[in-house]
């Protein structure tokens, strides 16, 4: 077995506790140590780190959208320097296999918060990005879970949103389009949850088209 991040063999650091753990290990201890899981207290809705019940981001969306189309977001890791580096290798260098480093924790989070059989919607990626990178990182994450995927949404708008202010994002055109009727329950899958605007644009379309419950599972809450 080799660590998916540093490519070193992991037999070496087997300890008694890991010896009896029969799950396939994809990370060595020293790489695993550098990933930082989100700790309480967090916003009940989006897992942003806060002492309040509801964070300012979520309040903002509730105020301005009337009703928040997103029911809940689950994230696993914080966006520390190490995660930034991993993300850049995963997305910008296009190192697909990095995704398996998160397999265990992503599956665990899914089973802890959702039930099997619900359709997953990986956030669609712009065509030009697919051409460069060779894969959609959200779909790579979704495929770790072995659940049915909903493929009825496409991206028509452009990608880069991070440089805009909240207001600009709010007034921006919804970059997605539905081409199929969505199932009743949907879990949106993405790599990063920053202000939640991307996920909420997708959730808005799903709810309008009749979805009852829309949640999201994202790897990182930044």
């Amino acid at each position: 077995m080799h660590c998916k991040i540093c490519l070193q063999s992991i037999e070496k650091d087997t300890t008694w506790s890991t010896l009896f753990d029969f799950r396939e290990r994809t990370l060595c201890l020293s790489c695993d140590e550098q990933l930082e899981k989100i700790r309480e207290p967090t916003c009940k809705k989006c897992m942003k780190r806060t002492e309040e019940k509801l964070c300012s981001d979520c309040m903002f969306w509730e105020q301005h959208l009337g009703e928040d189309p997103l029911d809940r977001n689950i994230s696993i890791y914080t966006y520390n320097e190490y995660m930034k580096e991993m993300m850049s290798r995963f997305k910008y260098r296009g190192d697909y296999e990095i995704v398996y480093a998160w397999k265990d924790s992503f599956q665990q989070a899914f089973h802890a918060h959702f039930s099997k059989g619900i359709h997953l919607l990986p956030i669609p990626l712009a065509e030009s990005r697919i051409f460069d990178r060779g894969f959609n990182q959200a779909e790579a994450l979704a495929r770790l879970l072995d659940q049915p995927l909903f493929a009825g949404m496409i991206r028509t708008g452009q990608e880069k949103q991070s440089k805009r202010t909240k207001w600009e994002r709010l007034s921006a055109k919804n970059p997605f389009e539905l081409i199929e009727t969505p199932p009743e329950n949907v879990i949106i899958i993405d790599d990063l949850f920053t202000t939640g605007s991307t996920v909420r644009f997708a959730a808005q379309l799903l709810k309008k088209a009749g979805a009852k419950c829309v949640s999201s599972l994202t790897l990182v809450r930044s």
Partner: protein
């Protein structure tokens, strides 16, 4: 002179499409003309894959990207395949895969112009340096292979000048490959100063330099992965050092980057050559330089045993012997380097002694080295990253925990070689502090004694 405008940029290179940085029309045109040829990125054999850039074959170095997905790559080539195989080993230089091939220049080749007066350097060589320089000139003339085995401080760079001069006069393309970026950063400005009319490209991760048919490329060994049949003269510095030593794919990259007829010069100070290499080297002409350029012997490392040294280090306390050594330096106003085995111990010691520290991940590494060199700092704590290449004129050196695994024989020899580099102050104190006397410690001392003996003999012959 070069009829083909693209030739100087791409001659002798092996690049990814995005590294070519050409418009689609020009790119397609060059392919059609046969000026660029496509090389499959990954050679898929029955039992293994081989990356055609870094030459790794380790199964764990290859990854797969599934293509039967909701959002597959819209490319006709991929319709019949289930996945793309890519190389993870060299992905920091851009992704090579079964879908992303490499390109080599196949049009008219470029040569750098012949230079009448390549150098302004007027320094003199010692008789020993001269011997090595002449052997190198011979190797360049005969396009043969030479190993120069020179102690730290022998004046390696100056030894190369005569050979470089001949090479540039003939319009040869020369590469100096070294394992460390710090060495590239130190060497390139020196060579630019002494060979002002020569086109020099300094290549390492994060550099801005580009090599457009340069006379001389000074590069980290990894940068060679972007070359193919490019150099007439290849000088490999520190052949024994990481990563050249550990990474079997790098010797292949060296072999690929030279032209079919070439001169190959290996430089080393330390005898860490694996048996395979050693046996192969028996057929190679070898020149040994046991004396430093200033003619003084190598400082003999002092051995100092400290009980429970590693427990001390873990607790963040310092044994008396070591504090005493440091106080002696301070009293004598001697500047010094403290080598420690790990980043953690560097950090702990730095806090305790109030001395700055560098390690491989220090973001301000260049700045720290710079400040120590221009005497802003009296002392510096370092991990093995300063073991090679980087030199400071007049310092003392201590290794704290010399019995740790990271300090093998070669590392200890190199570290001891940091002291006594300048002719005005050729002595310098070197002390190894350890708990258990390791083979590496003993061997490093023996090496010094042996080289000093050889040097003495040589001096007698010459005087």
């Amino acid at each position: 002179m070069n009829a083909n405008p693209w030739s100087p940029r791409f001659s002798g290179k092996r690049l990814l499409k995005n590294e070519l940085n050409l418009s689609e029309t020009v790119f397609q045109g060059l392919l059609k003309k046969g000026n660029l040829i496509e090389i499959p990125g990954i050679k898929e054999m029955f039992f293994y894959n081989e990356c055609q850039r870094c030459h790794t074959r380790k199964p764990s170095h290859f990854g797969k990207i599934p293509t039967e997905t909701n959002q597959p790559i819209p490319h006709k080539k991929l319709r019949s395949t289930k996945s793309i195989t890519y190389c993870r080993n060299c992905i920091q230089m851009g992704r090579v895969s079964t879908y992303e091939p490499l390109y080599e220049w196949n049009g008219p080749a470029s040569r750098p112009p012949k230079m009448k007066q390549p150098s302004v350097w007027r320094g003199e060589l010692t008789p020993l340096q001269s011997k090595a320089a002449d052997a190198m000139v011979e190797a360049i003339r005969n396009q043969s292979t030479l190993l120069i085995h020179a102690v730290c401080g022998a004046g390696k760079t100056e030894m190369l000048y005569r050979g470089l001069w001949i090479a540039f006069r003939n319009g040869f393309r020369v590469c100096i490959a070294t394992p460390r970026a710090d060495v590239v950063r130190e060497l390139a400005p020196r060579l630019r100063r002494d060979f002002p009319s020569i086109e020099v490209a300094a290549l390492y991760g994060g550099t801005q330099d580009v090599d457009v048919n340069a006379h001389l490329v000074v590069a980290t060994t990894h940068q060679l992965l972007r070359y193919s049949k490019s150099f007439d003269v290849m000088i490999v510095d520190e052949v024994d050092a990481f990563p050249y030593h550990h990474d079997k794919s790098l010797p292949k990259a060296v072999a690929r980057s030279v032209k079919p007829c070439h001169a190959l010069i290996y430089l080393t100070a330390t005898p860490r050559l694996d048996l395979k290499m050693a046996s192969r080297l028996k057929q190679i002409q070898t020149i040994s330089i046991p004396l430093r350029y200033h003619g003084h012997p190598l400082p003999l490392p002092k051995l100092s045993q400290v009980f429970k040294l590693h427990q001390h280090l873990q607790k963040g306390t310092l044994p008396k012997k070591i504090t005493h050594w440091i106080e002696q330096r301070k009293a004598a106003k001697r500047r010094f380097l403290l080598f420690v085995p790990t980043i953690e111990s560097a950090h702990a010691l730095s806090k305790k002694l109030n001395i700055p520290y560098v390690h491989s991940e220090s973001s301000n590494r260049e700045e720290l080295i710079h400040h120590f060199r221009n005497q802003r700092y009296e002392a510096l704590i370092t991990t093995t990253i300063l073991e090679r290449g980087v030199t400071f004129p007049s310092i003392d050196v201590a290794v704290i925990g010399a019995d740790h695994d990271v300090f093998d024989e070669a590392a200890l020899i190199q570290i001891a070689g940091r002291a006594g580099r300048s002719a005005d102050d050729p002595d310098g104190d070197v002390t190894f502090f350890y708990n258990v006397k390791t083979k590496a410690i003993v061997k490093a001392r023996q090496y010094t004694e042996l080289k000093n003996l050889e040097g003495k003999k040589f001096k007698k012959e010459f005087d």
